[in-house]
Amino acid sequence: MRSGRGVGEWFRWLNIERLYFLIHRLTAIYLVLYIFPRPYLVLLHGSWEEALKLDMTPLGRVLAALFIFAILFHGINGLRIVLIELGVVRGWPLRDPVKPKPALRVSKTNMALMALTILVTVVGTALGIYLVIYGAETWP
C-alpha cells in the first residue's frame, strides 16, 4: 500500500484478506483509543475502584463489549498475520487461466486460521457481552 492515500484506500478492492486487514486496523484504532486513556483515568480518580465505576455505566458497558470484540479479533487475526510474516503460513498461487487463486487463499492453514478467528471472536464476544451485562461488578 502506498502511503498518504487516506482511509478510503482501506475500503478499495475489498476481498476476504483485505476485509480482515481492514477490521484488524479498525480494531487496532479502537483498542488504542480504549486502553491509552485508562491509566490517566485511574490517576485522575486516585484508585482503580473509582475508575471502575465508569465502566459500570451503560456507555461503559457498550464500550467494554466493543473492547472484547476488538481484542479477540485483533489478537487471533494478529497471530495469523505474524505467522504469515514469519513464513510459517504460506501457499503457492494457483496459476489457472480462468480462475487463478492468490497464494494465501490456497493455504489451508491460512483459511483454517481465518475460520478460527471468526469462531473465537463470535463465541468469545457472546460470552463477554453476557458477562459485561450480567457478571459480578466487584471482585470477591
Binding site: 487516506g6 491509566p39 485511574v42 505474524v82 458477562l131 457478571g135
Partner: protein, 116 residues
Amino acid sequence: MRASVERLILIVGAFIMIVGMPAVILAAVALGKITIEDMLSTNPLVIIPYAFVKIGWGLLWAIVAVDWVIHGSHGMRRILGELIKSEGGRKVASYLIDAIMVITTVVMFYVLVFVP
C-alpha cells in the same frame, strides 16, 4: 526508526501479549489466586486488570500492559504513516507518538504497581 526495526518490535510485542496475557491469567487460576467460578461469573473488566492489582500481581500485569502500550504506539505510527502525505508530517507524527508512548508507559506502570 527503520521500518524493519519497527516491524520487529511490533511482532515481538504481539507475541508477548498473545502468550503473556493468557499465561498470566492461567497462572493466577493455577495458583488459586483467581478461581474459575469467579472468572466465569465476573465482568471481564473487573478481572483485567483490577483483580490483578487486588491480588498483588500489578507488577506482573504491568509487563503485559507496558508491552500493550508499545505495540499500540508502533501500530499507530504505521497506520498514521499510511494516512499522512508528507515526509515532514510523518516525522512530526512519529515524534508525537514517541512522546505519548513514553509518558503512557510510565503512567501505566505507575498505576498498576503503586495505585491501590
